[in-house]
């Protein structure tokens, strides 16, 4: 046989490994578009296979379009590179280096030729059998949240201990949903104050577009000559909101559940884009449950979803989960409402970091605290004090009047103005800030 390399085999090997890598990234949650495989292949051809760092930069530019996905890419790339170069090396596979083990294990492909350490070859993601590094995955019923669990019993116990808080037991949703007129008016008032999206209606003024009819009408007086061009615009009247609702025991003992569900239900129904995420130890999106046709059905839907009401609270960790699982949930036009008493049981450093990120990305962060309904309330709790610098306003949240006050302040001073519980006239009888401010 001649010593000419088998280019066709090398090409097929590169293509196969690249496809394997793409699948692995997608399974890890990186949204790699369908056409990126071709681009990545072209990029690899351009930069060659000599330098790992260059190839890494090239593939990252092709396959990743969100900085939050970079760590996932970086975790998986070494394994891809090792397999790729192992298949191309004439002397056999490259030695395994330090790094994440079995990063490509869920792919379902066969191990590369000469592979010494067997990778899991089963396609199902929950079919691992390596006891030392076995991770299985499960989906939580209706809500579709994916959580990881450890393979052995000891780890499972530890995981469960993290899920259930010692502060309270589970309880189901009870009570009727408040859909009164006062609540509806209050929610509408809040919408007026935080509207960030342009609605469908036009009004004179602005500079969006020429008002042709008005221009023609006024031109009759000048013999058909358009002297000035009236304009019209679509003012902001629609809301894009994300409701982060703390469903820990301490909140549920304080807030009127029917009021809470009434607010969420109306916001979901009336605002242009309103998502609802419940959190305690973790975050779960439950927006769909509020789309049921009747209020009772919404409650039933929540029951069916087996929402775990009443755990402890890790606000920072929940925000991190939300950021990772729903990276597009918040953008510059999204107003974030956090319904929580601010009692953080996790690390406040995490809370601080996540809220700083949230505040940077969102149009506004408004904190609705049931405890702030008390005139003597002070935000001295560790979590609340940490969160305070990053929220645009901290408000009481317990009755439609509280919500109306939120709307009043927002309409008067805007989401970025002097707003918050300290400017609530019901606390000190005036519209000026209390000494607590």
């Amino acid at each position: 046989m001649s010593d000419v390399p088998d280019f066709a085999a090398a090409r097929d090997h590169v293509r196969e490994e690249l496809v394997r890598f793409l699948r692995s990234l997608r399974r890890a949650g990186v949204p790699v578009p369908a056409n990126r495989g071709t681009t990545a292949a072209r990029a690899l051809v351009e930069v060659g296979f000599d330098d790992e760092a260059t190839a890494r930069a090239a593939l990252r530019a092709c396959l990743v379009s969100d900085p939050d996905d970079v760590p996932t890419f970086d975790r998986q790339f070494p394994e891809f590179w090792r397999r790729l170069t192992a298949g191309l090396a004439p002397g056999g596979p490259a030695p395994r280096r330090e790094g994440p083990k079995g990063a490509l294990a869920p792919l379902g492909g066969d191990p590369a030729e000469g592979e010494e350490v067997a990778l899991d070859t089963r396609d199902a993601p929950d079919a691992g059998d390596d006891e030392s590094d076995d991770r299985a995955w499960e989906t939580t019923g209706t809500l579709g949240a994916v959580v990881s669990r450890s393979g052995d019993e000891a780890d499972r116990e530890a995981t469960e201990a993290a899920w259930y808080s010692p502060t309270g037991s589970r309880t189901s949703v009870e009570g009727a949903v408040d859909e009164g007129r006062a609540l509806a008016a209050a929610v509408d008032e809040v919408a007026e104050g935080v509207a960030t999206l342009r609605g469908r209606r036009w009004r004179p003024g602005g500079d969006d577009r020429a008002h042709v009819r008005r221009a023609l009408r006024s031109s009759f007086a000048t013999g058909g000559t358009v002297v000035s061009l009236p304009r019209r615009e679509r003012p902001p009247s629609e809301v894009r909101a994300l409701w982060l609702v703390d469903v820990s025991r301490s909140v549920l003992d304080t807030v009127d559940r029917s009021f809470l569900l009434g607010v969420l239900r109306r916001a979901r129904a009336e605002w242009r884009d309103s998502r609802v995420v419940f959190f305690d130890e973790d975050a779960r999106e439950v927006s769909a449950a509020f789309d049921e046709p009747t209020a009772t059905a919404a409650l039933d839907a929540l029951d069916r979803a087996a929402v775990e009401w009443g755990g402890g609270t890790r606000i920072g960790g929940s925000l991190a989960t939300l950021r990772e699982s729903h990276p597009d949930a918040v953008d510059g036009r999204t107003v974030v409402f956090v319904v929580s008493d601010g009692l953080e049981m996790g690390r406040v450093e995490v809370l601080e970091r996540e809220l700083a990120r949230l505040a940077r990305r969102a149009a506004a962060v408004l904190w609705l605290n049931p405890l702030a309904s008390s005139p003597s309330y002070e935000p001295t709790a560790r979590g609340m004090a940490t969160a305070l610098p990053f929220v645009d306003g901290l408000f009481a949240f317990g009755t439609p009047d509280d919500l109306a006050e939120v709307g009043r302040q927002l309409r008067r001073n805007g989401a970025g103005g002097r707003i918050g519980y300290e400017y609530d006239p019901r606390r000190g009888g005036s519209d000026t800030p209390s000494p607590l401010a």
Binding site: P31, P33, N35, R36, T39, R42, A43, E46, V47, A53, T54, R56, A57, A58, R60, A61, C62, V64, S65, P67, V70, D207, D208, P327, D328, D331, G332, R333, E352, R353, L355, A356, A359, R360, R361, P389, F390
Partner: protein, 304 residues
């Protein structure tokens, strides 16, 4: 579709690009060089994201200056329309032509066309231009749809004239501050580059290039403090651009005696160049300020 045959930069090498960045005093890490090289050689638009002040816009300027070509800039904003971005008809000129009674010639012809940035970038006869679509996340989501034809086929359609296709595709740099998520369709057409805040070493190299009048030890102190402040949960962490501004301010203030270590008062008085939110400035209390200066002075002594 774009292919290599229509890409003007198919022969650009890694060394060429490094030399270009070097000439333009742009300190680029290896991954930036590789990504830009790929964008040039594959003829793909480059989507650059990162915090404000990370050097996204500067990248396009550097490429334009380095290749000695025009920079066509489309600054995006809310309400940006196709007319603002593509082309408009010169109505006044059309009206005059009609009134002059020149019935033979159409008023929807080349002489009456006003080029806007996207069209201007595509119609360059003297080689490819650099098209900077700046802060695309400020524009409405609908505007992104307009960009898709330009980014994938490097062409636009003017109904009265037909399709205008670039003879050689421009180098397209799209920047975003991530104030909102961009559409998948837009991302799919672009290579992606995320500019992280620079490391202390990289920032020192930037200052050495951009503010050469500042003493090296003082520059090391500034970089250490900027890096340390980025670890704080600030509302707006400082970018490289802010550090450059700060360095220029400090260099200006200490023209006569520029080698003394930074003092707390000096830092306090110039902190506004680095931090742009009142909450962030208030966060730097006396304790944090003292710790920052002490740490920075140590870094400056090491640099000396």
């Amino acid at each position: 579709m774009t292919d290599r045959r229509t890409t003007a930069f198919a022969d650009v090498t890694d060394d060429d690009l490094r030399a270009l960045f070097d000439e333009q005093d742009y300190v680029a890490a290896d991954d930036i060089v590789t990504t830009v090289l790929l964008a040039l050689r594959l003829g793909k638009p480059l989507l650059v994201e990162g915090a404000p002040g990370a050097g996204k816009t500067e990248l396009a300027k550097v490429l334009a200056a380095g290749f000695d070509t025009d920079l066509v800039r489309l600054q995006c904003y809310e309400g940006l329309t196709a007319e603002n971005a593509l082309y408009e008809w010169n109505y006044t000129k059309q009206l005059l032509a009609v009134q002059a009674g020149d019935d033979d010639a159409s008023v929807f012809a080349e002489p009456y066309l006003l080029e806007r940035p996207l069209l201007r970038a595509l119609r360059g006869d003297d080689g490819p231009r650099v098209l900077l679509i700046d802060e695309v996340d400020r524009a409405d989501e609908e505007f992104e749809a307009l960009l898709l034809e330009v980014l994938s086929d490097f062409q636009v359609t003017v109904p009265e004239l037909g399709t205008v296709r670039a003879a050689t595709p421009p180098v397209v740099v799209i920047t975003s501050n991530r104030t909102r998520a961009l559409s998948d369709a837009l991302k799919r057409r672009c290579l992606y580059l995320h500019l992280s805040p620079p490391s202390v070493e990289k920032e020192r190299a930037i200052l050495a290039r951009r503010v050469p009048e500042l003493d090296g030890a003082v520059a090391a102190e500034l970089c250490r403090m900027a890096g340390r402040l980025r670890e704080e949960p600030l509302r707006k962490p400082p970018g490289a651009a802010e550090t450059i501004d700060w360095a220029r301010a400090v260099a200006e203030l200490r023209r006569d005696d520029g080698t003394d270590p930074l003092s707390p008062a000096e830092v306090r008085n110039t902190l506004g160049c680095l931090l742009k939110e009142v909450e962030d400035i208030e966060r730097v209390d006396d304790d944090l300020l003292a710790a920052l200066v002490e740490e920075a002075n140590a870094a400056g002594a090491e640099a000396e």
